[in-house]
Subunit: 467 residues, 2 copies
């Protein structure tokens, strides 16, 4: 590899459509080779689900399906990958030949993006030749764990803002570039109104937002000079950052500029406060602008915000029209991972459960039904896929890939965002709380048939394996 | 954009060398356009540093410079980017024309990757035309914040393992694909011995590792069948996962297979325990293998490990030869972000400091000197760049880019890893503790000249701006 390519790789991780199949854990490949040698590449079913909610969460928001689907439709091992694997001196030539023609031939059922979900509910089900399903595990978990984490966190921030706009300001603190792109997309799905990430705006058609940093103000001889320059340059969209030196003095400078703009036929759009006592300062600044005849100037708050601080700011009467939320939303700082797992639940030998350390899974292919009353979700029920649908239940899993081909239309980002808004609006009030005691107060029931199958499986597995 | 491209973007974030300059916060561009209009594109200097240590950390490990350098050398705005920006209807045509010819012309001084650093010490200093330095802010912070976080976390895990091997098992829980690639690279630099991430192994030449999952064991009629199959397929490198059903029974099955392997002239390499009481189980399993005549069979432990659990496991006498660490290392779960900032410290008008809310920065271009005694670092001193070097101090900032061109050789990953090992070996003992009270007990001193310049700057800025 050329040195320049190595640097490119180091910069971006360099996961591209050409090599994404190699983005997998080594053991997926050693297991796969072994399956091939032992004639174990029959079809099998894996569920992707979480066993318990992350701290403070009462629900999860499903995001990332489009990315998972694209991966499954396009994962290939190119010659470069085959060559690298051969160099490891652990894989059989039969397996390398198999990988050369590899593509995904299986079926996928999944919840639509923007769907609220709960522990033990599969959000994605893969039925495929065992090797195909196994190699996909790492990427599917990476993509869905991250996206669900981002979407859930952003949904909480949006709920806390009570209708005020929330913008994603997170790129500088996200875990790499791909993380920042996923945060922008997931937080927009969850109800954020814009992102500061220009590339995400471009590639996903998300509104972009941003005005000035403290360094801008410091680059002019005085704060007033900086504000005047910016207002002249952006007469229709000027939001002035007023806390570089002294926030109240900054507000006075902004009012001076607002008057000058009005004299030219323009209106200052807003001011941003990024530090200090945001409750008191925002109230003082609001009063100053109101008294000066600028009641429509918006107040944007930012600076180490999260859902808890936004809730507390609003409860304390902060005069906020919108929030810019960065680090803590983009890193889901109070719960920085989602423990999604991907478990074998059925193969040609029958149903499967895992027993170790009480980490029991639900065997077999399943469907999830959601029940609503007066537009509010009241309970979910998990049934075997071939059980009759219960009356009034909304089936959450939809077929999306059959025999390796897309069989459903992927919704637009706007449609996904609307589904998320409808799902969040249908949350029972207790689930909107920002701190919840575990387990979350939402009933996820298991059909009698599924429960008895699971219990029988557990008993049989213990008998066979532990005897 | 074609629908297929949109899905590609959604999968990978699609940050490539072609569009990486657009990976920036919107305000970097609005500020830049304004600087251009007001003739403020003179040279300026920005420092990248952290103001305080993340929770529990006594030091930070610098990782990510190669990625930052590659970005600066290659950032360009292509026609697609220009077209998108024009559509926003906020930028001047002069600015768009400027972006079309954009490239980085500045100078960069930075600490080498693998260097330990502390709050207020610039790890990277950019001196460039103001617009170039400003647009680069978002990517530089994204890249260095994430990499420093990963490297620092992994260094703690490696320290806790006291010489035992640590492997990165994190891809399924990392924040997207780029995060997983960066974790693999950063944790290898910090002293991990391998990664499960095959693509990272390929692109960065990091050893890869992995054996089997629980689903492998469940794919055979019995656990013993699974172990026999795997041992037959991988006679030189078999590590058997023994906790799918019952760990001690699993150990007995593994011993059976170890005997069969020995009869064929091979040796079982090891067993892995991924759940349960790892202290007791590992001791029991160790004893079983020792008594059966297999003292060289290695015991690998995994399952929700982090530096604290590894320390506690070893203190309690766990029989562990190596650890697989995933989620908590790859997400730096106890401190999931590093608050690196990028601050204007000097421009053609003179030195600069930021005052708001006590977030004082150190003005001007600086050098950092590190002093060692008997091979252990004892204190750092920050001086103005043109102050004489103090005798015996190792200057930490090196020139790496001059006039937009690379002027130093980028070290190999192995060389970076060796530097990190040497730096970690030179840490004073109190800094190796996993929980530290803030501020960290390491002296970072400021030269008398720098301190008086800073104090004068603060006084002058207050006088000018707050009056």
């Amino acid at each position: 590899m050329h040195a320049r390519d190595a640097h490119m790789n180091a910069t971006f991780g360099w996961v591209s459509s050409a090599n994404m199949a190699l983005f997998t854990d080594m053991y997926e490949l050693t297991m796969a080779d072994s399956y091939l040698r032992h004639g174990l590449n029959q079809w099998a079913t894996f569920d992707l689900f979480v066993r318990k909610l992350p701290p403070h969460r009462a629900f999860l928001l499903h995001v990332g399906l489009e990315q998972a689907v694209h991966y499954l439709l396009n994962m290939r091992f190119n010659e470069d990958a085959i060559h690298y694997l051969r160099q490891q001196k652990v894989f059989s030539e039969d397996f390398l030949a198999y990988l050369r023609d590899f593509r995904f031939h299986g079926h996928v059922w999944a919840m639509p993006e923007g769907t609220v979900f709960f522990p033990m509910e599969p959000v994605l089900r893969v039925t495929a030749p065992r090797i195909e399903a196994q190699i996909a595990e790492t990427f599917l978990l990476n993509t869905l764990n991250a996206n669900v984490m981002y979407g859930t966190k952003a949904a909480r921030v949006v709920l806390a803002a009570q209708g005020r706009g929330v913008a994603d300001f997170s790129p500088r603190r996200d875990h790499g570039t791909d993380a920042a792109m996923k945060v922008a997309r997931a937080s927009y799905i969850a109800g954020c109104v814009a992102t500061s990430n220009v590339l995400a705006g471009h590639l996903y058609h998300i509104p972009i937002t941003g005005t000035m940093a403290h360094s801008y103000v410091m680059s002019f001889p005085t704060e007033l000079d900086a504000f005047r320059a910016y207002a002249a340059d952006y007469p229709h969209n000027a939001v002035l950052l007023i806390d570089t030196y002294d926030t109240l003095q900054g507000a006075r400078h902004a009012i001076t500029v607002a008057r000058e703009m009005r004299a030219r036929g323009h209106e200052l759009r807003g001011v941003r406060i990024d530090s200090g006592d945001l409750v008191t300062l925002s109230q003082q600044v609001r009063r100053m602008f109101d008294e000066a005849g600028f009641p429509h100037v918006l107040i944007f708050l930012s600076g180490d915000l999260n859902e808890y601080r936004i809730r507390d700011l609003l409860a304390a009467g902060a005069a906020a029209d919108a929030f810019g939320v960065g680090t803590q939303m983009g890193t889901s700082a109070d719960a920085p991972f989602v423990n999604g797992v991907y478990k074998l639940v059925e193969d040609e030998a029958g149903l499967k459960v895992k027993l170790s350390t009480g980490k029991v899974s639900l065997p077999g292919r399943k469907q999830i039904y959601r029940f609503y009353r007066d537009g509010i979700m009241v309970r979910d029920e998990i049934r075997m896929h071939d059980e009759p649908a219960p009356p009034g239940g909304e089936p959450l899993l939809k077929e999306i890939i059959r025999d390796g081909a897309l069989v459903a239309e992927l919704p637009s980002l706007q449609a996904i965002r609307e589904r998320a808004a409808a799902q969040l609006a249908a949350l029972p009030e207790p689930l909107k709380a920002l701190e919840v005691s575990q387990p979350a107060p939402y009933p996820v029931e298991i059909s009698a048939r599924l429960a008895s199958l699971r219990d029988a499986m557990i008993a049989r597995a213990r008998e066979i394996e532990v005897a």
